[in-house]
């Protein structure tokens, strides 16, 4: 008797499971919103350095039967530097993967914090790109953005982005150093000087660039503190007073995206300089190769920097360097 019950109940359970498994799920297609909506993505990566762009893509849309777009504007908490603009083109991607732009509006002159575009085409959906050139005033501060769109129905939507921390560090790209010609590097000035110029700015010279091809050793391109052991400054006559002892540590595989402009997604940020400890480091770096770099701390401990070697030229005894610098 008991066995029968067990049989029936398991049969019923199996049937129930079969039914549940075979039942077709009803998919629900959500009704599209018709009111004005917006969304923003930030397109740039890495630290926000003064002078560089922060790029956003601002999308806005409403149902075509409901109305059209009238204007779009961005308000930055700190006015952007010259060159800040909201693009008047909306982009689509063609079959070759290229962005093709169509002009949909006219930009109004940027007034203080506000950058605005009025739509001139009859459009109900658009994505505009916004380029914010980071101003000097924003250094070390945070900046926020309010993206606002208005439609012909009188609706207004706003999307807040940020806050984004603006880095304290400075950057200078593509300085050419040439042995005996322009070989004195000042981190304080972010500049390269000749021996005659260095003599007038002796207290600002942190490194000497030199190229030597010495038989039996690998010396080649070098960044040496003026106050380093003379064996690392062969045949170099320093201008009077140029004698600082900067700390230098060689680095490899740190191809900062901003400095190198290569495909590597590596960024040096303020934090790297803050955590950098060069107390036991040497005061010279010899055999510097292209795509290598050197961490530097000035003798007065006012600045820390990363010098990236973009390229070297053995025949010309020269190199192209780019610097990121952080004031302590």
């Amino acid at each position: 008797m008991q066995r029968n019950y067990l049989k029936y109940s398991s049969l019923l359970l199996s049937l129930l499971m079969l039914m549940t498994a075979c039942e077709e799920e009803k998919s629900i297609i959500p009704a599209a919103k018709t009111e004005l909506q917006n969304d923003v993505i930030k397109r740039t990566l890495g630290p926000n350095v003064v002078g560089l762009n922060i790029e956003f893509a601002y999308a806005m849309a409403l149902a075509p039967e409901r109305g059209k777009l009238v204007s779009a504007q961005v308000e930055a908490s700190i006015p952007g530097a010259g060159g800040t603009y909201l693009e008047t083109k909306t982009y689509s991607t063609n079959g070759s993967g290229e962005d093709v732009g169509i002009v949909v509006g006219e930009s109004l002159p940027t007034e203080g914090k506000i950058t605005k575009v009025n739509f001139t085409k009859d459009t109900s959906a658009s994505t505009l790109r916004y380029y914010y050139v980071i101003p000097e005033a924003a250094r070390g501060q945070e900046v926020t953005f309010d993206f606002t769109a208005t439609s012909s129905t009188g609706e207004t939507v706003t999307y807040k982005m940020g806050p984004y921390k603006i880095a304290k560090m400075d950057m200078k790209l593509d300085m050419t150093v040439t042995d005996s010609v322009a070989s004195y590097i000042s981190i304080a000035d972010m500049a390269v000087y000749s021996a005659a110029e260095a003599a007038t700015k002796a207290d600002k010279i942190d490194l000497v660039y030199l190229y030597r091809s010495i038989p039996g050793v690998t010396f080649n391109h070098a960044l040496v503190s003026p106050g380093a052991d003379k064996q690392y400054l062969p045949n170099v006559t320093l201008p009077a007073g140029v004698n600082k002892v900067s700390k230098v540590r060689k680095a490899w595989n740190i191809r900062d995206f901003h400095l190198a402009r290569l495909q590597y997604g590596v960024y040096i940020d303020d934090l790297d300089f803050e955590k950098l400890d060069l107390t036991e480091s040497a005061n010279y770096a010899i055999n510097m190769r292209a795509e290598s770099g050197a961490w530097v701390e000035t003798a007065d401990s006012k600045y820390r920097a990363y010098i990236y070697v973009n390229s070297v030229n053995n025949n010309g005894k020269s190199a192209r360097i780019s610097i990121k610098r952080y004031a302590l």
Partner: protein, 135 residues
């Protein structure tokens, strides 16, 4: 039926007790397995600079009889900030441990590292002698 169950449970219990009493493999103070191996030598030696690139001009000369490692480094190598890397025979370990950069600038008193065999019974000190390439 009950009888069978009792036997099965008794067997299971016996198995658990047996497994529980099996001696564990011995480990040393670092939690590393102590094995039967008595071999004790350095098979390879690497020396990296502050940029984590090699500073050797050629392969290090490892003398397992004299227990020395002779390595020549590039001219201008900063001997105070180097990262040594030892490859040891299977199951051996190094004493002292290398936890970061090492100062090799005192060449009068070269650094010594002891290789400890897998059975932890053989200890062989290796002296690292560094010479700098000269022009």
């Amino acid at each position: 039926m009950v009888k069978y169950s009792k036997i099965a449970i008794a067997l299971l219990l016996a198995l658990v007790v047996w497994v529980g009493c099996t001696p564990e493999f011995p480990v040393d103070e670092d939690g590393l397995l102590i094995t039967e191996r008595a071999e004790c030598y350095v098979s390879n030696f690497e020396l990296l600079g502050p940029d984590f690139q090699t500073v050797r001009t050629k392969n290090a000369e490892i003398d397992t009889v004299a227990q020395t490692i002779n390595v020549e480094v590039f001219y201008g190598t900063d001997l105070r900030n180097l990262y040594p890397q030892f490859s040891l025979v299977t199951d051996a370990k190094l004493d002292p441990k290398i936890t970061g950069k090492v100062d090799f600038s005192d060449r009068v008193n070269p650094k010594t590292y002891t290789v400890v065999s897998g059975n932890r019974k053989v200890r062989k000190p290796y002296t690292v002698n560094i010479t700098v390439q000269k022009p």
